[in-house]
């Protein structure tokens, strides 16, 4: 191989790498530097290795961080429970409606995220049919409400991030070799056993990808809490927004963002280890299968 040929992959990597450097590495550097400054707008922010910004940014905000875990976790679980059967149905049972159904999954993206969330405000408003039906069924107390509650925020998160769960699941299920299920049944496994022993393990990569793609943006989201939540539903994203856009405490906002990034990274690493790197990265099982 000539030198030129050996360099080709690096040239191909070039544009992406440059993009990442300019729009990820460089901003990260500035954010990190900002997180170590002190001061305010009037005096200016001076760089002096202010490590205390990190613990300071956490103080008083632990509740919102736990809440973000709870909301994003519940939304991810719900998205998985709703998304898996749906992706399964589209992949195997939809027949000629397959394209149409897939389109329906993506269709909400034709409207912006903000507008869709505001629409939920109308759907869940106190005098909406949804609320009156739930009140009639005594699921909600007579003066109960959905809007400005945790339920509304979790519902909004689930709805907004559901396609991110369905699409990787579908892509994965669609490639599933149905002969393997037939083989399992030939070997006397019940439908449930075949699902648990064949389908589920083989679709683990899709599940892992779907969970990550749903959980990560849901954790950092602040729109749903702001629009559908009330006074006790703020997530960590709302705290960062307030620190940055209202209090203009840029160093603490940057420090908190960094901590959350680190936290998410740690969770992802542990999760991938637990779920199996193979399942996520190279799917050895599938190749041998």
């Amino acid at each position: 191989m000539s030198l030129r040929q050996r360099l080709v992959p690096y040239w191909l990597l070039g544009p992406g790498l440059l993009w990442l450097i300019i729009f990820f590495v460089v901003p990260m550097y500035f954010m990190g530097e900002l997180a170590l400054r002190t001061g305010n707008l009037t005096t200016g922010f001076t760089f002096n290795w202010e490590w205390s910004n990190f613990p300071d940014s956490l103080s008083g905000h632990t509740e919102q961080i736990w809440r973000s875990f709870y909301y994003a976790g519940t939304a991810t679980l719900l998205a998985l429970l709703i998304g898996y059967p749906l992706a399964y149905a589209i992949a195997f049972r939809a027949g000629r409606f397959k394209q149409l159904l897939l389109f329906a999954v993506i269709a909400p993206f034709f409207t912006t995220y903000l507008v869709r969330t505001i629409a939920w405000k109308t759907i869940l408003s106190d005098s909406s049919p949804v609320v009156s039906v739930l009140q009639t069924l005594s699921i909600l107390p007579p003066n109960g409400r959905l809007l400005a509650t945790s339920t509304a925020v979790i519902a909004g998160l689930t709805y907004n991030f559901l396609p991110f769960m369905i699409l990787p699941l579908y892509a994965n299920l669609e490639r599933l070799d149905l002969r393997l299920i037939e083989a399992a049944k030939d070997l006397y496994s019940s439908s449930t056993q075949a699902f648990l022993k064949v389908t589920l393990p083989l679709t683990m990569p899709g599940i892992v990808a779907g969970v990550l793609l749903t959980f990560i943006p849901a954790f950092g989201d602040y729109i749903n809490a702001q629009i559908l939540g009330g006074t006790q539903q703020a997530m960590v994203g709302n705290v960062i927004q307030s620190l940055y856009l209202v209090q203009r405490n840029y160093p603490e906002a940057a420090a908190l963002s960094f901590l959350m990034m680190g936290l998410i990274l740690a969770i992802v690493v542990i999760y991938i280890r637990f779920a199996g790197t193979g399942a996520f990265m190279g799917d050895e099982e599938e190749e041998t299968a």
Binding site: L18, I21, Y29, F45, S127, T231, Q232, V246
Partner: protein, 373 residues
């Protein structure tokens, strides 16, 4: 291989070098003197930022008339949604001496002062805006924050009080009523520190203009308890009007002129028993503003009583221009007799200005903890 690594490193160095030109430091870093907005021939393009629903719209609206009269091409953007976050959005630009193409925008008095102190605004020469000083109400000519009107020209004023859905809670008159548990979860308050907290202090018989840090914190504590008990449904900006329209709430702390945004027929703005907060917003010219000549002409234009009356007719806030009430009376508009649009001194006698706490940082931090509860 080493060549590839070397070129990657070179790229990093290049990118860091490029970006190093643009770090945000803050601190009123604009060098030296405050500039004065330049007058000159009125032409070209003018970009204005303002709050939504704050001008007469349409083909015969204020912007269209101005374009017709001057030939200036106006880009009128309604991108101010909250005083604080609009400033935060602008701050990194202003720090670089840029305005993002805006020649003029509208901000609250205290914010105009803060931005001027930071060196983010240009001064305005009185002789460049003769129509403004011909028609500006005497009471607005020398406010404390800008005694000689050097950098701010009033846009509209208003009052913050209580919007009540009279079909559901006709007996709400005082801010204290909003804390009554029979309205639990049916009340919203504004998320802005200087709007909501002074109203609560007034209701407790404290003068917000003289309140100590402890008194501010005490009022915030009261609001915090109401938020965590579920009494307060939400802290809002303009969106309380949607909750009133949808029937989600029975009362809200809100702005006197918002009836153009409220479709609920039973909604009524009320002066709180213990008084309201009064605020004023100003047109300002930021540093780096292009075409300041057209911006100055815009100020002159909207201070013509006829144009000001058109604006009042639509937005229903308090106009800073004299003669508007008479014009509306001639036109037979009901607004001419409205205490909300033309409040008398008797009507607003218990009201207070838009006060800032004596020590902003701890109070604002406590407040933001309530907002992001």
């Amino acid at each position: 291989m080493t060549l590839a690594i070397a070129s990657a490193l070179a790229l990093i160095v290049l990118a860091v070098g490029l970006a190093a030109c643009g770090g945000t430091t803050g601190g009123g870093g604009n060098t030296g003197e405050i500039e004065t907005a330049k007058a000159g021939p009125v032409e070209g393009k003018l970009t204005i930022s303002n709050w939504p629903g704050y001008i007469a719209p349409g083909d015969h609206g204020t912007v269209a008339e101005f374009e017709r009269k001057t030939g200036v091409n106006v880009s009128y953007i309604e991108d101010v949604n909250e005083t604080e976050s609009f400033f935060s959005k602008m701050q990194p630009l202003l720090e670089q001496g840029e305005s993002g193409g805006r020649s003029l925008y509208v901000v609250a008095d205290y914010m105009a002062k803060m931005q001027h102190d930071l060196g983010y605004l240009q001064n305005i020469k009185k002789s460049d805006i003769p129509t403004v000083f011909e028609n500006l109400l005497p009471s607005l000519r020398s406010p404390d924050f800008d005694p000689n009107r050097e950098f701010s020209v009033p846009w509209q004023s208003g009052m913050t009080g209580i919007w009540v859905d009279t079909s559901k809670a006709p007996e709400i008159h005082s801010i204290n009523d909003l804390f009554d548990s029979k309205y639990a979860g049916k009340i919203t308050m504004l998320g802005e520190l200087r709007e909501t907290v002074p109203l609560v202090m007034l209701a407790e018989g404290i003068d917000p203009a003289k309140a100590s840090t402890d008194q501010w914190l005490h009022a915030i504590e009261r609001i915090k308890d109401a938020a965590s008990s579920g009494q307060i449904r939400h802290f809002t900006g303009n969106e309380y009007t949607e909750d009133l329209n949808a029937g989600n709430i029975v009362a809200a702390i809100g702005w006197s002129g918002d009836s153009s945004l409220i479709e609920n027929e039973n909604a009524e703005w009320r002066m709180p028993t213990q008084g309201c907060t009064m605020w004023s917003e100003d047109m300002v010219i930021p540093v780096g503003a292009p075409n300041t000549a057209a911006a100055l002409e815009w100020m002159n234009f909207v201070y013509q009583p006829k144009i000001a009356a058109d604006i009042t007719d639509y937005v229903q806030y308090i106009s800073p221009v004299s003669g508007v009430q008479e014009l509306l009376k001639e036109r037979g508009s009901e607004l001419a007799n409205s205490q909300i649009v033309f409040p008398t001194e008797q009507f607003t006698r218990k009201c207070t200005g838009q006060n800032s706490p004596p020590d902003l940082e701890p109070v604002n931090e406590a407040w933001q903890e309530v907002i992001t509860g």
